[in-house]
């Protein structure tokens, strides 16, 4: 029996069909179900697709600038949907819409398609009076009239769209004056614009993008609720936060703090009461658990895969175990999280370990661990597992002075730090000599504070450091040249604390506090 095409392996049929243009593929789809399945799985053979919806029941489709007019009997929105789903998401780079979909519902049908979301150059043209959204880097809008509200809405959208570069608005009439639009668009100096009688060009300077995003952190939360397209657009932006705090002190209260925004979620019977400190407002949501609402808001913040936080404070107590687990899960899910200063206020070492292990190693620079109850007396830290964690070893600055008294055998765990603050149970002459030698040879050491739970014998320490300690002196200082450098290691010892710092004689006296200290 002669060999037929359907006797070939699918991979070989794919190779043949990949050579075909779009219209031959459409015809092949009609040949048999087998072919339709194979064609559906192929990547499209063109890069651009334009739809022109005509006033009659027809749509003009343009593939790679090769126009074909198709007369469609069914509803045109559904036809667009059907055509778009032919293509694998991300393969269409340019999609253009010429007419407004009839209703918002239909618009959402289209914008929810993965093909639209992932098209880098998307155009919605002639969309009527109200401005719709676009995720294109440059786009044009033709409408009859523009009013101030449209511009303000467009500005808010443009500021939260990271890859937006410019847009051209053409209208028969602009219902605003030049100073008014200047006030709207140039208020934060994030957008520049050019206007003439019928056209308005808005552009975003690239360098302003970052500051715009920082200023609109709160706005982005509202923006992403508008529709799925906006939500995805917003979620792709990197988030930069200066201050963030998650306080989960009890089962009945959760607190979220984001820059100047401070929300307290508390339990009121079966309901949740949200108190917003920034706007001094209280809102009650019926039949809602406060943890759900707080964590939902936090998850919106951490939705982005790229989050940078300058100062993050986490307050965890065992009582709020469920919320703590949820919060840590959210932190683990952020693929690219960097925290400059992490403050952990925890009830016990287990919670501290859970929190630390939720961060990727090297994802924070400074680490401070304290007890969640500030009045709690600092005791001996029997469980030293925290010191052994990789996250701890990669931190550049560490402050655990208020968390526990540690044994001097752990001193070498801090040699890698730029700065550290600890409380030691004791410090022998031998310990301080080892510490001095290690820190003097460290490349990055700057300063450290060592508090002591038991008073030091100054004369013994002074003898080992070869320093002159007058009888009855409250403290003494000494200095040692650091090998192979022009800098010195200064040591100030008092009965209750040791302060070691690094300073250079070449630096000016005005800027160098350490030099002043030695004087």
């Amino acid at each position: 029996m002669p060999l037929r095409i359907i006797d070939l392996p699918v991979e070989m049929i794919n190779k043949i069909f990949e050579e075909l243009d779009t219209f031959s593929r459409f015809n092949l789809q009609k040949v048999s179900k087998t072919f339709r399945i194979i064609i559906d799985r192929l990547k499209p053979s063109f890069k651009t697709l334009d739809f022109y919806i005509n006033t009659d029941d027809s749509i003009n489709l343009i593939f790679d600038r090769f126009p074909v007019k198709l007369v469609l009997k069914t509803h045109k929105i559904d036809e667009i949907l059907r055509f778009l789903t032919i293509f694998q998401p991300g393969t269409l780079e340019y999609i253009e819409f010429r007419n407004e979909p009839k209703t918002r519902k239909n618009l959402l049908k289209i914008v929810n398609l993965e093909q639209i979301k992932r098209a880098r150059n998307l155009k919605f043209l002639e969309l009527g009076v109200k401005i719709r959204v676009s995720n294109g880097t440059r786009f044009k809008i033709y409408i009859k009239e523009f009013d101030v509200e449209d511009i303000a809405r467009l500005r808010d959208f443009l500021l939260t769209t990271a890859h937006f570069k410019s847009c051209l608005l053409t209208a028969r009439q602009f219902n605003f004056t030049f100073p008014r639009i200047e006030r709207i668009l140039r208020s934060d100096k994030c957008l520049i614009f050019t206007i003439n009688r019928t056209q308005l060009i808005i552009e975003k300077p690239v360098q302003k993008l970052r500051s715009a995003l920082i200023n609109f952190q709160y706005f982005r939360m509202r923006t992403r609720k508008v529709c799925h397209l906006l939500r995805d657009t917003v979620d792709r932006q990197p988030i930069v936060i200066s201050d963030c705090a998650v306080r989960l002190p009890s089962v009945s209260t959760s607190v979220l703090n984001l820059n100047e925004y401070f929300n307290e979620y508390s339990k009121k019977g079966k309901n949740c009461e949200i108190y917003c400190y920034h706007s001094k407002r209280t809102k009650q949501i019926d039949d809602a658990w406060h943890v759900d609402l707080a964590m939902n808001d936090l998850s919106i913040l951490f939705k982005s895969s790229n989050v940078r936080i300058d100062d993050l404070e986490l307050v965890f107590r065992r009582e709020a175990k469920y919320a703590v687990d949820w919060c840590l899960r959210l932190i683990r899910k952020v693929s690219n999280l960097y925290v400059d200063g992490l403050v952990l206020k925890v009830e016990n070492t287990k919670l501290a370990l859970s929190a630390l292990s939720s961060f990727k190693t090297g994802s924070f620079r400074c680490l401070t661990i304290e007890f969640s109850e500030p009045e709690k007396e600092v005791g001996i830290l029997y469980d030293s597992r925290i010191i052994g964690t990789e996250q701890f070893r990669q931190a550049e600055e560490i402050d655990i002075a208020k968390y526990g008294i540690i044994d001097p055998i752990h001193l070498e765990s801090f040699y890698h730090c730029n700065r550290f603050t600890i409380t030691l149970s004791s410090l022998s002459a031998e310990n301080i000599l080892q510490l001095r030698d290690a820190l003097a040879s460290s490349d990055n050491f700057e300063e450290c504070y060592i508090y002591l739970s038991r008073p030091l014998n100054l004369s013994n320490i002074g003898k080992s450091l070869e320093a002159n300690v007058p009888d009855g002196a409250p403290f003494f200082t000494c200095e040692y040249p650091r090998p192979d450098t022009d800098s010195y290691l200064g040591i100030k010892v008092s009965p209750s604390e040791v302060f070691i710092f690094c300073y250079s004689t070449l630096e000016s006296g005005e800027d160098d506090e350490n030099s002043n200290l030695t004087k």
């Binding site: 037929r4 009609k30 087998t34």
Partner: protein, 190 residues
């Protein structure tokens, strides 16, 4: 041009013998085998490029002597062509081929598919790609019905995808309308 009877340079050091499925032997120049990744790897693994190694005939169970003859003709013609790169595939809606290639592949579809199988088996990318493009050129610009005629297949689609007009049923397809070939590889027969 065939290597079947190597009269020009019968130096056994530079040749290997391949045996087709019907038992016919072909003497192949090692230089030609470089175009086939399958043969090139085999020669490299068995060190057949060395003069002191005994060269056993290489059985090619999936290829008939007629196909082998055709393939050797291709290899001879492309002997001095630069090595085929994946990037050489350039997308173009118009199909243009060398005159020699058009004459060479002016064969019925069933022979073309057999040659495609052979090219795939021997892993000769230039031949494989060219056959795919020739086949595509036979399909392009044709209606569904014409494609059915060209490819000698019947439809398993009940209604047209776009117009909804009923299409003649394919009696050979299964009752539940499944495709004639399986999209996932089936297990080998035991």
């Amino acid at each position: 041009m065939s290597c079947e009877e190597p009269t020009t340079s019968p130096t056994p050091e530079n040749n290997i013998t391949v045996v087709s499925s019907d038992g016919k032997e072909f003497l192949l120049d090692l230089k030609l085998t470089e175009q086939s990744e399958t043969l090139a790897r085999l020669i490299s693994n068995f060190e057949y490029d060395r003069t002191d190694v005994k060269k056993d005939p290489v059985p090619l169970g999936n290829i008939t002597s007629a196909q082998m003859q055709k393939i050797i003709e291709w290899l001879q013609h492309h002997r001095y062509y630069p090595k085929w790169e994946q990037n050489d595939i350039h997308y173009s809606t118009s199909f243009t081929f060398e005159t020699w290639v058009e004459e060479y592949l002016n064969i019925p579809n069933n022979e073309m598919f057999e040659l495609l199988n052979a090219a795939n088996y021997l892993n000769i990318p230039r031949l494989f790609s060219t056959i795919c493009r020739i086949m595509a050129s036979r399909i392009t610009g044709k209606s569904a019905e014409q494609i059915r005629t060209v490819l000698n297949i019947k439809t398993d689609v009940k209604n047209d995808v776009y117009t909804g007009i009923p299409i003649q049923e394919d009696s050979s397809s299964s009752e539940d309308g499944m495709s004639e070939i399986s999209l996932s590889p089936s297990p080998p027969p035991i």
